[in-house]
Amino acid sequence: MTDATLDLPDITENARAPSLRRQIRRGAQTWIARHLISLVILLALLALVGAVHGIGMSTFPGYVDDPGTYLSQAWSLQYEHRLSPYSYFYDHAPAGWIQIAAWSGLTNGFDRYDSAIAFGNECMLIAKLVSMALLFVLGRRLGFGRIAATGAALLFGLCPLELVYGRWTFLDNLVTPWLLLAFVLTYSPRRSIGAAVGAAMAFGMAALTKETALVLLPAFGWAVLQNLDRRNRPQVLVTSVFAGAFLMGLYPLFALLKGELLPGPGHNSLIGTAIWQLAGRAASGSVLDPDSATADQLHGWLQYDRWLLLLGLAAIPVALLVRRLRPVALVLIIQWLVMVRGGYVPFMHVINLLPWSALLVAGAVSTIAGNPTLVPPGWLRAASGAAHRARVGVAVLLTLGLVTVTTVSWAPRLRPMMTVTQEQPLHSATTWLADNVPRNKVIVVHDSIWTDLVHRYGFNPRPIMIYKLDSDPAVRDNLGRVDYLVVPDWYYRTGDAAQKYPTLVEARKHAVAVATFGAGTDRVQIYRVSDHWKPPT
């Protein structure tokens, strides 16, 4: 009897509160049912863009300067627990290569490929797919229909210009997903404190990945203010500002604890390098000046694709008409203004323009079509039949034009990017070094192969990265000898090579090419320096 009476409440309780597992399962089922169509679209998008981005990424584009640096720093973090194999000088906030190191730590990244650059390519593929998915979600949250959100994702995912710069291991490619996540959470329909805190922390991560993301604070702040709810406004503001500031404050705190916050003799400093980055670097000029380096860069970008950048610019005025699109439009406006300002603009800056251009182009077409979730009723949204039909007709024509233009222009550009078969000259050079050079030789190398020579081939003493050879006092002071030079020809051909790389240029006068890979300025010659030459002290 007692047993039976004891059992009963248990059964009723079970019926009222299902087990956690069942709760989760049911929640997932309803979530999937609600988002099924979007999920199917997203999976298809991921497969398509993943294939286009991934096929051929090891052979195109050629190696450039920065990726090897970030990967060597990620390697150093994973294997030596330091932020850089050389003394860290606050060139960039470290979260970017901390993420790369984390992924490598989880998946043994540096052992899975025969080159660090190839592992970096994998990281960039992941970043690209995450960015594209977030772009789709952000479009939906802004009020895009599925077609427009898909359009934004495809414009971003398949643009040849984005493919080139998205494949290179640049910090900006890791900033993009965090920024998009910050906006996605800001536009969370629930407007919860959790979402706001998450948004602020995502923005903090973007800034810690590359400090240049901070210029977007006005746009992000505007988006936050636009999405405040009267019921939890003070709580959201206080907690999110605190969370974001706390996360970003870790960086100066780290510098402070190391005694490297303020400039001083004999050590690197965060403020000192920041001053150099902002004011000390040679300005590349305003994009409005046709003779400036920035204008040259823009020209270089447009050679890969002119449509997305220029259509993005054209979409800004339309987007500004729509309240929900204004903060996003401001993002793109700020990124363009950076190029007008006349300061130093790195050549990978285009990465920051492309996702927002894609979003605004899709948003502008949606606006013209009069999408009701995006455009509020009023003069923007024609109610009457004829005007409405006319606008939809224009939007359809625009979409068709966009599809045609991008297909015709992009397909022939994407094909060679996916089918290049020539091995990267620096990679061939690495193999040659491994086969022909004793491990105790001192090699001056391009940063893209440094990690491979250290990690995979065990060169000891470690090779010297070319940009450290004449810039790092610790390297210069301990330079007893140099046996090999392995850098692309463009280092010798720049006009100011003798000023920028005096030791490299001098060493080459006492060296002979023993192997050559590739052609043009990408050509890599391996120089063996005479045993009888010593670097001047």
Binding site: D435, H510, V512, A513, V514, S530
Partner: protein, 335 residues
């Protein structure tokens, strides 16, 4: 078929297995460098050789004509014979025969490359075909006696050097070495081009087949500087040997004063360098007098000729501190 044999095979199998086991590690041995160049084995022509003393030079002829005994410090020592054009080939067979009879090693300078002075083909062979013919005749004239050839002073160093000249030089090296002679390609001197630049040119010019290179020909850089520079270069071109011209470097290089062009051309302060000798320093085969001491550099420094000048000769002898005081005084009083 003994146990010992079997043990040997077993040992070799073990070594091979170890090799396979280590095969995962990259090969760390240094391959020939550059790997695509195969260097001919060195002949060491100066090894145990006696240098040939040329008795038929402009200096000896002038000495005989003027009874100038004070020229002995120059005329009694070995010098190279320059073949500046096909006309100079006529005297070669007699010299080679005499050298062979005396068991001495003759040194020749081939100096007839097309566009020799980089002055629009006014000097040297009129074209490549003429140069090839000159080389054929030179090989014929040298006959079966193995000689040392200093190949084309300034040709690889000059501003007008190009890949075509490199090929021509490489052909010359091949023609002379396959006839049994030892070739030293001229490499300029320590204050002209960098060892790296010259190494690249010498590799194009067939240094792999040559015995080595010549340093300081007709120049006045010190032997110490020339040796240091030559060692660096040797390391870059497969450890080839080299020779240094010490004919006029006893006082070192004259000051490089752009306002006074006579400093490089018949400078007042100059001296005979170390006497010609076979050396035993690493990679340095010999110190030679390649440029004829006493020959004028041209119409400068008070001279009006490219030929022998007693003034230049007496300056060289008088300033040579390694010579006996009497010989120097005789030269000084002769001028």
């Amino acid at each position: 078929m003994t146990g010992r044999y079997r043990r040997l095979v077993a040992g070799m199998v073990t070594i091979a297995a170890l090799g396979v086991g280590c095969g995962r590690q990259p090969d760390t041995s240094l391959h020939p460098d550059p790997p695509n160049i195969r260097y001919a084995p060195l002949r060491h022509p100066f090894h145990d050789a006696t240098l040939y003393v040329d008795t038929n030079t402009a200096t000896t002829r002038w000495q005989k004509a003027h009874g100038a005994d004070w020229l002995d410090p120059i005329t009694s020592r070995p010098q190279a014979r320059w073949i500046n054009s096909p006309r100079d080939l006529a005297g070669v067979p007699r010299m080679v025969t005499r050298a062979k009879d005396r068991g001495e090693l003759p040194v020749f300078v081939a100096y007839y490359i097309p566009n020799r002075g980089c002055t629009d083909f006014k000097q040297g062979a009129p074209d490549a075909a003429a140069y090839d013919a000159y080389l054929r005749d030179l090989v014929d004239a040298l006959g079966a006696v193995s000689s040392v050839i200093v190949l084309e002073p300034d040709a690889a160093t000059a501003d007008c050097y190009n890949a075509g000249r490199g090929k021509l030089l490489a052909r010359a090296v091949k023609a002379l070495t396959s006839a049994g002679h030892s070739v030293y390609l001229d490499a300029g001197h320590s204050r002209w081009r960098s060892p790296g630049e010259i190494a690249t040119r010498l590799l194009q010019s067939g240094i792999a087949d040559a015995e080595g290179f010549a340093v300081n020909v007709a120049n006045r850089q010190t032997t110490t500087d020339s040796y240091r520079w030559g060692l660096e270069l040797s390391d870059l071109v497969g450890d080839r040997d080299f020779i240094i011209d010490t004919s006029r470097n006893g006082s070192g290089p004259p000051p490089d004063d752009p306002g006074r062009d006579d400093e490089w051309c018949n400078p007042r302060r100059q001296a005979l360098g170390a006497p010609p000798q076979i050396t035993h320093r690493p990679h340095l085969a010999a110190l030679l007098w390649i440029k004829a001491p006493g020959e004028s550099d041209g119409k400068c420094g008070g001279e009006h000729t490219y030929l022998f000048s007693p003034t230049q000769a007496s300056n060289l002898i008088a300033a040579a501190r390694w010579l006996p005081q009497a010989e120097r005084a005789a030269a000084r009083s002769a001028s």
